[in-house]
Symmetry: C2
Subunit: 279 residues, 2 copies
C-alpha cells in the first residue's frame, strides 16, 4: 500500500478552514494545523479533530507537503519560521504571491489557488471550486495537479502572471460587487427599507451570468442611456460625494461598453456552466 | 361569476415580456399588447398568443386596467397617446416615475414596481419577485395589492420616495455588479483566460448574502487592509485610468466600512431569505 503524504496546514483562516475540510473529505493525511493565533489554531483543530499548534517550532519537521494558507503580506515571513525537509513539497494558496517565494526552501514547490470567496460561516462544495495550479518543474506540476484533482473537479494550469490577473479580476467580480451590496443596503436602511427586498435581485443578477455573458445581461438606466434617471440618481446622491463618484464612474463605464458593443468592438468568452434553475 | 378585468399591456420590452407571462399564468384576462415598435409588439404577441398593435389609436379604449411597462423617459409622452376610460385603473412598473404621472388621466392609479432585473432570455418565477405597490387612494391601493398578490407572493407597500431610493439601491445591487463582471471578464480575456473561471465565485458571492449581511460576507485585500496587494493591483491597472479609479474608490469604500464596523458604527437588517444550497 502506498504511503500517504503527511500534510501540514499552515494557517487557520477562511481558506485554511475550507481546505482542511476538503482534505479530510478526500481522505488525505492532514497531520497538523499551525496558526500564529492560538484561538484560530484551536478552533480549526477542534473542528477537524486534527492536532494543532501556535508555536512555529512545534510544527512537524518531517512533513511531505506543507500548504501555506496565510495572508499575502505575512507569507514570506512565515515561511522562514517553519523547519521543513529539503525535499518537501511546498504550496501556497495565494492569488498574488509568486511561486518563487519558496525558491530558497525546497526543490519542489508550487501553487494551488482556489478562485472562490471563503467565509467560515458558509459551507461550500470544494469540488466545484476552480483550482489554479502551478509547479516549479514539469513533474512537480503534474504531482500538484494530481493532488488538486483529489480536491476539485475543476483544475486549471495557469502561470504566475495569469494568476495575478485572475486575482485582480476576482476582486472586481466578488469583493467590489459585495461592497456595492453593502452600499445598497445602507441606502435602503436610511429610508426604513430592508436589505431583504434586494436579495432576489442580487441572486438573479449573478445567476444570469452563469448562462449569459455579462454584456448580454446588463440592464439599467446607464445601459438604456436614460439620462433623466441618471441625473435624478446623481441628485439623490449629492450629499455623499463618494457614492456620487462611484455612481458616475460606473455609469460612464456601462455607457462606454454599450457604445463599443453597438459598434461590435467587444465580446467575451461564450463558455457557460450548467446551473440548476431555482425559480 | 365575476367579470374579469380587461387588461391592456403598454410596452413589449423586458419587463412587459415577463409580466405578460405572469398575467397569463395567473389566469388574468390580458387582452392586448401595444408597443410603438411593431417588431417588439409582434414578438410578444406571437409568444403569448395575445392580440397586439403598434398603433396607439388601435389600443382598446374600453380596458379596465392599463399597465404601462415602458422606459421612464417615454412614459409621460406615451400615456398621452392612449385613449382610456376615465374610470380605468392605470398602473406603471417604473422604479423612479412618480405615481402622479397618471393624475390627469384617471381617478384610479398607482404603481407595481418589480424589484428584479429582466432579460427576455431568462425565465423567472414571477411569484418570487418583490412587487412594490402604491395607489392614489386607500381603496385603490387595496385593489392594486389584491391584483399584485395574484402575480407574486412578495408584496411591499411603499411610497414614491421609498421607491425612488429602492430603485437607486437596485442600480448599486444589480447594474453595477454586472458591469464589474464585465470588467473582470475583460481583464481575463486580455490574458487568454475564460470568464467561466469566475462563475463559481460570482455565484457564491451573491449566494452568501442570501444568508449573511454583505458586511459579514466581505472578503478581499481591502477588507484585510493588505496594502501591498492593493498597490500591486493599482500598478497593474496603471494604463487604464478608469479602472484604476474604480479600483481605488471601491477599495477606499471597503476600508472605511471596515473601520466603521470595527468601532461598531454600522449594521444593516438581519432578515434573510431561505435559499436552497446548490453546492
Amino acid at each position: 500500500m502506498e504511503q500517504q503524504d503527511k500534510i501540514i496546514l499552515i494557517g487557520a483562516g477562511n481558506v485554511a478552514h475550507h481546505l482542511a475540510g476538503a482534505l479530510l473529505k478526500a481522505g488525505e493525511n492532514l497531520c497538523q494545523i499551525y496558526s500564529r493565533t492560538l484561538d484560530s489554531a484551536r478552533q480549526l483543530g477542534m473542528k477537524t479533530g486534527i492536532s494543532y499548534t501556535a508555536e512555529a517550532n512545534e510544527v512537524y519537521p518531517d512533513g511531505d507537503i506543507y500548504i501555506f494558507c496565510v495572508s499575502d503580506d505575512v507569507l514570506p515571513s512565515i515561511i522562514k519560521t517553519i523547519r521543513m525537509p529539503d525535499n518537501a513539497l511546498l504550496l501556497h494558496t495565494s492569488g498574488s504571491q509568486p511561486m518563487d517565494v519558496f525558491k530558497s526552501y525546497s526543490k519542489h514547490y508550487g501553487v494551488i489557488y482556489p478562485v472562490q470567496t471563503f467565509s467560515k460561516k458558509r459551507e461550500l462544495d470544494f469540488r466545484e471550486i476552480p483550482l489554479c495550479v502551478e509547479g516549479n518543474t514539469g513533474p512537480v506540476k503534474e504531482r500538484i495537479k494530481k493532488f488538486a484533482e483529489k480536491l476539485s473537479g475543476k483544475i486549471y494550469e495557469i502561470d504566475s502572471a495569469q494568476r495575478k490577473e485572475l486575482h485582480l479580476a476576482a476582486v472586481f467580480a466578488c469583493n467590489f460587487p459585495n461592497y456595492l451590496y453593502q452600499v445598497a443596503g445602507k441606502l435602503l436602511e436610511d429610508k426604513g427599507l430592508s436589505f431583504a427586498m434586494l436579495r432576489p435581485l442580487i441572486f438573479e443578477t449573478a445567476h444570469k451570468v452563469m448562462l449569459l455573458n455579462p454584456e448580454e445581461a446588463q440592464t439599467g438606466p446607464a445601459k438604456r442611456g436614460d439620462e433623466s434617471i441618471m441625473n435624478m440618481h446623481k441628485n439623490m446622491l449629492k450629499n455623499d460625494k463618494d457614492l456620487l463618484k462611484i455612481y458616475t464612474i460606473l455609469s460612464e463605464g456601462i455607457k462606454e461598453t454599450q457604445d463599443k458593443e453597438e459598434t461590435g468592438d467587444q465580446k467575451i468568452s461564450q463558455d457557460t456552466i450548467d446551473m440548476p434553475t431555482l425559480w
